[in-house]
Symmetry: D2
Subunit: 148 residues, 4 copies
């Protein structure tokens, strides 16, 4: 991630404020690196609910294959932080969500990209991404979704 | 805790909405018992900031001696939950915070009481609760604070 | 909890070492109060597996009603800490697990008592504790189990 | 990460067993994606203690710039999992730690690469990696460390 070319908050249709917890902060006085993923995970859950209308998480047929997170600047307890989530690209069997954590001045503190793979739990292997997922992403997003 | 005599949300001057995270939910499908304490801890931090104006957590001279938490009804992802925090009693060297988690209909899901002891980190023993703490609680609270 | 009358490690048949994580430690430099419950929860899970042979956590028909935790002395990263778990008492519909966190010198750092209630998930109310649970506790424990 | 070319456990001098916690497991029944980072973080902390003799975490002058984690296969409660940590490359101001989570049959479940940057907390900018860090890595590691 070239930190001179960070995504901007206004490129994300789906954003939500996230609440920091006292025990997100570690001995170093800032948000522990592991806790960013709880915020990103919560952003993903809300994004899926909005875009796909997920009602039962046990039936979501996609698994995380890779998470790539860049730490731009530290986060402190008491700061007002939001998470933005969007679909960055769609592939045949996989897709990528790009997420940012940003403050109330629009400064991006972290960027995260998560590759998820469409998965058949019974057969236990990856499958072609269902059309209704593909349609849901393209109907929702206003920024361009790349194809892979 | 007699669950027929739960504290009511309107008895708490200090309340704030708390945000559930996707990974607060365990394999049983509801909020894991351990995660309640992250919410209560965050409520305490905000309460102290409001009541005492804490600026540096490393200088807070009180330690937790006991936590007693009653689970009234389970909490699910997607629910709108708030935490209320108040000072229940003041002793010579200790005080008790009572907290509740409640939903947007005012139903109490959990009650927690935390006894904290005034502590001298250098001498490593408990000390008499400073007057400015005592005053801060009594100035802030509108419900009665018991004496012990 | 009278900290002059702490339970001793040798009163617990079921003990296991627990592993501290770097992000258990908060800005104050010791284990955050909320993380004790992750250790106790893990101790409970292993205890149930040993005593009852739990295979599917979704089928365990008992819920936590109350947790009461006393903090005796702080815990630091790098310390060798174990958790002990035992059944303290059995009631008609409920039982209590007592747990301790102790170091490699046998010093008790924390004591926790958890009251659990036997529960029928379909009917959504408490039920009489099944005999096979009662028997499992009494067969396993070597220390006395009180009756309530 | 090409999952056909995963690093092997025997390529890591520093390995340690990690303990799963009951609340690492989410509603889907396997280890939540966010919890992998707590295990990796703990592996890093122990690695630094071994390689550099860290005594006070507040004085470690390196910050995390990027974490890239590949999920190869899910992890379940009760499995015996270890983390391996090694220095993969050294740059002028940064270095990369590669880590794996693997089971007791040597199967790799996840691979994670963390780029850290040498940092001057007073000046608040990155600095050339001190020689004592460079030396500590090269003295400890038996596998080749690349240069960047």
């Amino acid at each position: 991630m070239d930190t001179n070319k960070l995504p901007r908050p206004d490129e994300f249709r789906h954003t939500m404020e996230v609440q920091l917890r006292f025990n997100d902060i570690d001995i170093l006085g800032h948000m522990n690196n592991t806790r960013y993923f709880s915020l990103y995970d919560t952003g993903k859950a809300r994004y899926f609910e909005t875009v796909h209308g997920v009602e039962d998480w046990r039936k979501v047929e996609a698994v995380i294959a890779n998470i790539n997170c860049t730490y731009v600047a530290p986060i402190f307890f008491g700061e007002k932080i939001s998470v933005g989530t969007r679909c960055l690209w769609l592939g045949e069997k996989s897709f990528c969500l790009q997420q940012i954590l940003f403050d109330d001045k629009g400064q991006v503190r972290s960027v995260c990209e998560t590759v998820m793979v469409s998965f058949d739990p019974a057969a236990k292997h990856s499958v072609v991404l269902p059309d209704h997922w593909r349609d849901a992403f393209t109907s929702y997003e206003t920024s361009e979704i790349k194809r892979r």
